[in-house]
Symmetry: C2
Subunit: 426 residues, 2 copies
C-alpha cells in the first residue's frame, strides 16, 4: 500500500488509518522485544577479534622494548600511535594513543579548552557565552559533553555533503564566542553523509576568522568503516596546512568498532601546541593508558593492510543489515511523501526524517509494539528536534531476521503516525 499524504482526501486518509490500525494491533499481539537503539557491534562482529586475549603469548614487551605491564607513557606506545596514524592518515608524532574510549579523549579535550584554553588562548569558561556549532542531526554524546559544562550549542543543518557551510561561516564570522564545532566527517552519525572536498576546505578556513581559541572536534569514528565501495574523506590536516590553521582542528578515532567495542583503544591527533595543552591537563588525571591492551592491538594488526582486511569482514556482516533497512524504506516510502533518508556507504546508522511533527509518535508506537528506538530528539542538542522528524536507525546489533521484523514494525508505525498527524491537522 503506497501512502501519499499530500494528495490524499480525508476519506482516503481515514481508510488508511483504519487499515494500518488493524495491522498495528495485530503486530502488538506478537509481544516483540527488539532493539534498534545504539550502534553496538553484533556478537558475530566482536568474535572477529577474539584472538586478542592470549595474543601476547607471555611476551609483554613492545617492539620498542617497553615493558607494557608497568606504569608510564602518557602518549601511548609508539606502535599504537602508528596504528592511530594509519587510521587517521596523519604522522605518528601527531598522535596520542589512549584507553578504551575516544569519547573520553574528546571530553578531556573539551575540558582542556574550557578550563585552561588551548595553546595559550583564553579558557572558554572566561567567556560570557561560549558555544559550539552542532551539525544536526548529530551524536547525542557530543552534545551531552557541552550541556554538562554549560557550553551553548547552535544547530547547523546537515546537507548531503556535510554541514551547511554558508550557515557555518556566517555564524563564525558574526559570533566570536563560537569556540568549537562537532563534526563526524565520514559516514556521519546518524545521516551517513561523508563531507566533500569543498566542505573540508571551508571548515579548514574557519580558523582564519574564528576566535583564536576555536577548535573543530573531528570525530572520525568511522574512518575505515566502509561497507561496499571505498569512500574517500578529504584530509582536514592537509587543508589546515594549506590554510595555516593547523591549531584549529583536533581529530579523534578508535578501534571500538574495529575490535571489541568496550575494550579497544582510542586516538587523538592534533598540532603539537594542542597536544601539549591536552597532555598538561591529562597528566593530572592519569599516569598513562593501558599499554598491555595497546600492545594486543598492535599484535593483531602488525600491518595496516591486515586491519583493512579485518574491516572487510565487518562489512560483510553489516552489509546485509544495511540493505535490509534500505529495502524496507525503499519499498514503503520510495514512492511516497512520508519521509526521506540517505543511503550510507558505511558507518553505523541510517537516519530517517519523517514528515514534520511525527517522530515522537513513531517512537512511541514502535515501543508499544515492542521495538525500541533511540528517543526522538536524541540526535539534537538538548534532545530537542525542532521539527520532530528525525529517527536514528541502528541496524548493527540485532540478527538479520530480527532486524527485518523490526523494520516491518517501524515502517508501519511511520505510516500510521503520518496518517494520524495529517488527519489531526485537517
Amino acid at each position: 500500500m503506497t501512502v501519499r499524504i499530500d494528495s490524499a482526501t480525508r476519506n482516503q486518509l481515514q481508510e488508511w488509518e483504519k487499515e494500518l490500525e488493524t495491522q498495528y494491533q495485530r503486530i502488538c499481539q506478537h509481544e516483540l522485544n527488539l532493539d534498534l537503539t545504539r550502534g553496538k557491534p553484533s556478537a558475530e562482529q566482536l568474535h572477529l577479534s577474539d584472538r586478542l586475549d592470549g595474543i601476547l603469548n607471555g611476551d609483554y614487551r613492545s617492539p620498542d622494548g617497553i615493558d607494557t605491564r608497568n606504569y608510564g607513557g602518557l602518549d601511548g606506545l609508539p606502535c599504537s600511535r602508528a596504528l592511530g596514524a594509519d587510521i587517521l592518515q596523519v604522522p605518528t608524532e601527531e598522535v596520542m594513543a589512549g584507553g578504551n574510549s575516544s569519547l573520553t579523549l574528546m571530553y578531556h579535550a573539551v575540558l582542556t579548552g574550557y578550563l585552561f584554553g588551548f595553546a595559550g588562548t583564553k579558557p572558554w569558561r572566561e567567556m560570557a557565552a561560549p558555544k559550539f556549532l552542532c551539525p544536526v542531526p548529530g551524536y547525542d554524546r557530543h552534545f551531552t559533553i557541552c550541556e554538562q559544562l554549560g557550553i551553548g550549542m547552535v544547530n547547523v543543518p546537515m546537507t548531503a555533503t556535510g554541514p551547511d557551510m554558508d550557515t557555518v561561516e556566517k555564524l563564525v564570522r558574526e559570533d566570536q564566542e563560537i569556540i568549537g564545532m562537532w563534526c563526524v566527517p565520514k559516514f556521519s552519525n546518524p545521516t551517513g553523509v561523508t563531507y566533500n572536498q569543498d566542505t573540508v576546505t571551508r571548515l579548514a578556513q574557519l580558523g582564519q576568522v574564528a576566535n583564536p581559541g576555536f577548535r573543530i572536534f573531528w570525530d572520525n569514528a568511522y574512518a575505515i568503516h566502509d561497507l561496499d565501495q571505498h569512500v574517500n574523506l578529504p584530509s582536514i590536516r592537509s587543508a589546515t596546512i594549506e590554510n595555516d590553521t593547523t591549531d584549529s582542528v583536533i581529530q579523534f578515532a578508535s578501534t571500538s568498532k574495529v575490535t571489541h567495542a568496550g575494550a579497544g583503544i582510542a586516538f587523538v591527533s592534533a598540532s603539537s601546541a594542542n597536544l601539549d595543552s591536552l597532555k598538561k591537563q591529562m597528566q593530572a588525571m592519569t599516569i598513562g593508558p593501558d599499554k598491555v591492551n595497546q600492545l594486543r592491538h598492535s599484535r593483531l594488526f602488525p600491518e595496516f593492510t591486515l586491519l583493512k582486511e579485518h574491516m572487510q569482514q565487518h562489512a560483510e556482516i553489516l552489509k546485509p543489515k544495511f540493505e535490509c533497512v534500505l529495502k524496507h524504506l525503499e519499498n514503503a516510502f520510495g514512492d511516497s511523501d512520508l519521509g526521506s533518508w540517505e543511503k550510507p556507504h558505511g558507518g553505523y546508522f541510517i537516519s530517517f526524517d519523517t514528515r514534520p511533527g511525527c517522530a515522537t509518535e513513531v517512537v512511541r508506537l514502535a515501543a508499544e509494539a515492542g521495538v525500541k528506538l533511540t528517543p526522538a530528539g536524541a540526535t539534537f542538542p538538548y534532545g530537542k528536534d525542532p521539527e520532530n522528524r528525525n529517527i536514528r536507525i541502528a541496524p548493527s546489533f540485532p540478527p538479520l531476521e530480527e532486524l527485518d521484523t523490526a523494520m516491518s514494525v517501524l515502517v508501519l508505525c511511520i505510516k500510521l503516525a503520518s496518517v494520524r498527524e495529517q488527519l489531526q491537522k485537517a
Copy 2:
C-alpha cells in the same frame, strides 16, 4: 663512621667532610645509573600476573552473563565491583569498578566536587577560596590535581598514627572553605604510617562540623599490601556510619600494585548520593570501563583468598628490599642525629627526614653520583618542603643488588650534605 653533628667540633666536621668527599669522588667514578624515584613494581612482581593475558580462553562472558566485549555498564562488572568490595571491605553496591587508574577516578571525583558539587551541595568553584587539607609528606599526584584546578592546599603534619588531628580539627572548624582532604590511610605514601582507630574516628567526625560539601579522599592504595605482619586499618565506613557522616568520605583502591601496574582495574566506593553525583559527571565522558580486562581480573582472583595469597608472593619479593633500605639507614644513622624515618610494614615507600635544609643537596649529590631520587619537595604541595628535609625512597623497582649500591650512595650523600650544611652555618 658514626656522625653526630650537634656535638661535633668544627675540626671534626672538617675532617669528616674531607673523608666523605674522598669517598664520594670515588663513587662518582663508577658512573652508576640507578633509580629510586617512583613506586613501580619490579619485573619479577609483574610476572606474577602474566597469566592475565589468555586467561579468558575465548570465553568473554561474565558470571552474570554480560558480553564484556561490547559497550556499556558505567558501574563496571558486578564481579569486579565485588572484588573492589573485598579489597576495601565495603558492600558491593557501594563500589564502582573502573579502568586502569584510581588516579583517574580521584580526578573525576575532585572534578565533580569542583564543577557540580556532591549530593546537591555547592560546587567548590563557586567558593572564594576552596582548599584541601594535605597531610605532609604526601603523594605528589594528589597535590597536582588540586593545583591544576586552583584548589588551595593547607599542609598538616603527619605523625606516627596519621595526620595531626588537633590541627586538622582546628582548621576544619575555623575555615568553612576547607572542602576536601587527601588521605593515604594505610602504609601512607611516603611515611608508611597506618592511621589508628583514634585518627579514623576523628576523621569520620569532621563531617559533623565541616562544610556540607567537604569530602575526605581516602586513597587506600595499599589496602592489601602488607609486608610481614597483617596491619589492620580501622574501617572509615563504620566510623562514618556511627557518626552519621557517610557522605563525607570517598574511598579508592586499585589492582595497580597487585597485577600489572599500568593495566589493572580501579575502584571507587562511596554513599549512593556521592556515587550518583560522580556517575552523572562520568557518564558524559565514557560509556563504560574496559570490562574485558575487568573479567580477566575476576578470573585471576575468583576468591579473595587467592588474591591474598598472591599478595604474599609480592611481599616475599618486596621484603628483602625494604630490609635492605632499613639496614642501611639503621647502620648509618641509628646512632646519629642526621635524620629520622619510620619502619613501614607494607606499602611502597620509606620516607627519610634529613636535618633541616639538606634534602635538595642530598638529591643533587646523589644525582651526580648516578642515583636518581624523587625531587626534594615533591612530597609537599607546590613542591615546597618548608624545612627542605623529606626524601622519598622507592625500593620496589631496582634489583636487590642495585638497591644495595644505591643505598650506599644515598647514605654517603646524606652524611656529606649534613656535614657541609653544618659547616656553612657555623
